[in-house]
């Protein structure tokens, strides 16, 4: 139980003052309400918010979203921004799964159309999309091809017919971040990444067919072509072994940077280097390559999902209206412009389990989303619901344009295994009309809805704090877990 100070600023915002511990450079801010705060205080996540506040060059505050929970280094749900002159970049504050993220695609199918076909959908997805522990993809490629993939991200997949150019417009960074440096990638990472391109992975990664069961903003929903009873598909995956190896390679280097640059960190998993150092530049180049790997991966997965639906409904994906709504990264560092002390400044924003949430008019957004703001996709647990939100100006002003990334765990995997019975859980899901397929039975239990916070509460805080606007809610119909 964390018993440090938490001062209530508003109904949805709590402060850990920098006076709490000598060495904190800024306050910690946790977005939560009284109810969520009880769970948040149960583990060491608030202390991790504090630890991030120690880092050199941190700007304004060390932030945490309401889905915050105990991670390693930074908390999951953590957001922090660093000055380019005296700030740092820390691989452990982005995570091993670089550019783990979510994409949401719509269909023109209704719940009525899918009636009686849910089993077929989940079985086809399970059979046709490589998923599960250490799964192997169908994409065979040479080293030269892998290098192209790392530079081109989702574009690489689209150029090979695994999607259309409109898909790219609906991805953060248009599916490929600039500045990937293939020379900063180790041969080990290339090798580890090769068999896994186009695979879902395991743990909390999933593909889910859903139905929209509530709409909160009719105008935006209409603009996005969304309606009650419509089938949507959500894909959650990341950069697989490639990203893990990139992170590992560079954490090893950055641990040595601590003494080299005289940086004190309260937790060595926050190992970092000054943004302008050669070590940081190498990491940034490799991290971007991993981010592109992940965008390519989700593009390939989406292609397989489209093909699976095509098979089930005997129609092309185009005639099923399977267009991408958006793709967001929730483990990444980005160089973004934000207002600090009334002046625009470029900052290095770390998001670990947090979603970028640009408001309407942001110049980074594609034309189609300029007016409404950036789609923010919040997956919930497999038994409850997920949300589609849009970013706001207030998020840009307050949270370095960030919102939450999911429900956030509340039970450890071990506790879930101890307390959840697989048969009972599957029965419960079935009674709600939800079908689940997974390679590992343990995964289903570890990912049980009771292991997560209530998504409605988490999203409620994000909305209450003004960091996003609710568009619609999607209820799961079937889930493929890794």
């Amino acid at each position: 139980m964390w018993d440090g100070p938490l001062e209530k600023i508003t109904e949805y915002k709590f402060r850990i003052p920098k006076s709490y511990k000598p060495g904190m450079r800024v306050d910690g801010i946790i977005y939560a309400d009284e109810k969520l705060l009880q769970d948040i205080k149960k583990d060491k996540a608030p202390e991790q918010v504090v630890n991030v506040a120690f880092l050199p060059g941190i700007v304004k505050y060390s932030l945490a979203m309401p889905d915050i929970h105990w991670g390693y280094g930074a908390p999951i749900g953590g957001v922090s921004a660093f000055d380019l002159d005296d700030g740092i970049i820390a691989p452990g504050m982005i995570g091993y799964d670089i550019n783990c993220g979510v994409r949401l695609l719509k269909t023109n199918l209704t719940l009525e159309d899918a009636k009686g076909k849910i089993s077929k959908i989940v079985n086809t997805l399970y059979d046709d999309v490589p998923s599960g522990l250490g799964s192997k993809g169908e994409i065979k490629m040479s080293l030269q091809e892998e290098k192209k993939l790392l530079l081109q991200g989702a574009k690489w997949a689209v150029s090979r017919g695994l999607g259309v150019k409109e898909d790219l417009e609906c991805c953060e960074e248009f599916g490929a971040i600039e500045g990937a440096d293939i020379d900063s990638v180790s041969s080990r990472a290339y090798e580890r990444g090769k068999p896994q391109a186009g695979t879902l992975g395991s743990g909390n990664h999933f593909i889910e067919a859903q139905v929209i069961d509530d709409i909160f903003d009719m105008e935006i929903a209409e603009k996005l072509g969304l309606f009650i009873g419509q089938i949507t598909v959500m894909i959650h995956s990341g950069s697989r072994g490639f990203g893990y190896q990139v992170c590992d390679d560079h954490v090893r280097v950055m641990v040595k940077c601590l003494s080299k640059y005289g940086i004190n960190v309260p937790d060595r998993q926050l190992a970092c280097a000054p943004i302008n150092s050669p070590e940081a530049k190498n990491y940034i180049g490799a991290m971007r390559a991993a981010a592109n790997y992940a965008w390519c991966n989700r593009q390939v997965l989406m292609h397989l999902v489209r093909e699976s639906f095509g098979k089930v409904f005997s129609k092309s994906w185009q005639s099923l209206g399977m267009d991408l709504i958006y793709d967001v990264a929730h483990n990444i560092a980005k160089f973004e412009k934000h207002i600090v002390d009334g002046r625009e400044k470029t900052l290095c924003v770390h998001r670990k389990g947090a979603t970028r949430a640009f408001g309407p008019g942001n110049p980074e957004l594609p034309a189609r989303y300029k007016e409404i703001g950036q789609p923010v996709i919040i997956p919930g647990d497999m038994g409850t619901a997920s949300y589609l939100l849009v970013g706001t100006k207030k998020a840009e002003e307050e949270s370095f344009a960030s919102a939450c990334h999911g429900a956030g765990r509340v039970k450890s995997r071990h506790e879930a295994i101890r307390t959840v019975n697989l048969e009972t859980l599957l029965k419960e899901l079935k009674s709600k009309g939800i079908e689940v397929r997974a390679t590992g039975k343990k995964t289903i239990v570890e990912e049980a809805p009771s292991a997560y916070k209530n998504i409605d509460d988490v999203v409620g805080v994000v909305i209450g704090a003004g960091l996003s606007k609710k568009v619609c809610r999607m209820r799961p119909l079937c889930v493929v877990k890794g």
């Binding site: 996540a45 390693y72 091993y96 522990l133 580890r192 190896q245 090893r252 060595r268 765990r409 590992g440």
Partner: protein
């Protein structure tokens, strides 16, 4: 007594591992790691040699485990037997190991789970009159 026990961690997997000596601890940490990944008992068919250097024992332990994770997922090397020697002075710690194991694909065999990496978070190696103890959080 088992060589390891679980410790609670919300998102990932935490273990507390014991060893009579430092070498024993490093071996038990490696065995714990693979027992989390897989139930298969590997044969001693091929040999790998690993030499690692670090400033602290904690850093050496994380580097050791991540090297094994990386070898497994990249080159499908599943260790069975370890011969480990650790040298340490004030400035550096060196691990030399000869590992026997077999080629075993994580992509074509049943796995219990995936582990991305061992992390430095809350990592500590402690010594008492019974031997050594380490607490490690694995990112899963």
């Amino acid at each position: 007594m088992e060589n390891f026990e679980f410790i609670e961690h919300t998102a990932d997997i935490g273990v507390r591992v014991y060893g009579k000596s430092l070498e024993d601890l490093f071996q038990n940490c490696a065995q714990t790691l693979f027992s989390l990944l897989i139930d298969h008992k590997p044969a001693e068919k091929i040999e790998e040699r690993i030499i690692l250097e670090a400033e602290t024992l904690e850093e050496l332990l994380v580097t050791w485990l991540n090297e094994l994770i990386s070898l497994f997922y990249t080159y499908k090397f599943l260790p069975a037997e370890y011969d480990i020697a650790i040298e340490k002075d004030d400035k550096k710690k060196i691990l030399r190991s000869v590992i026997k194991g077999e080629e075993f694909s994580p992509y074509e065999n049943k796995m219990n789970r995936e582990i991305k990496a061992a992390t430095y978070h809350n990592l500590k190696i402690e010594k008492d009159s019974f031997g050594y103890k380490a607490e490690i959080i694995f990112d899963v």
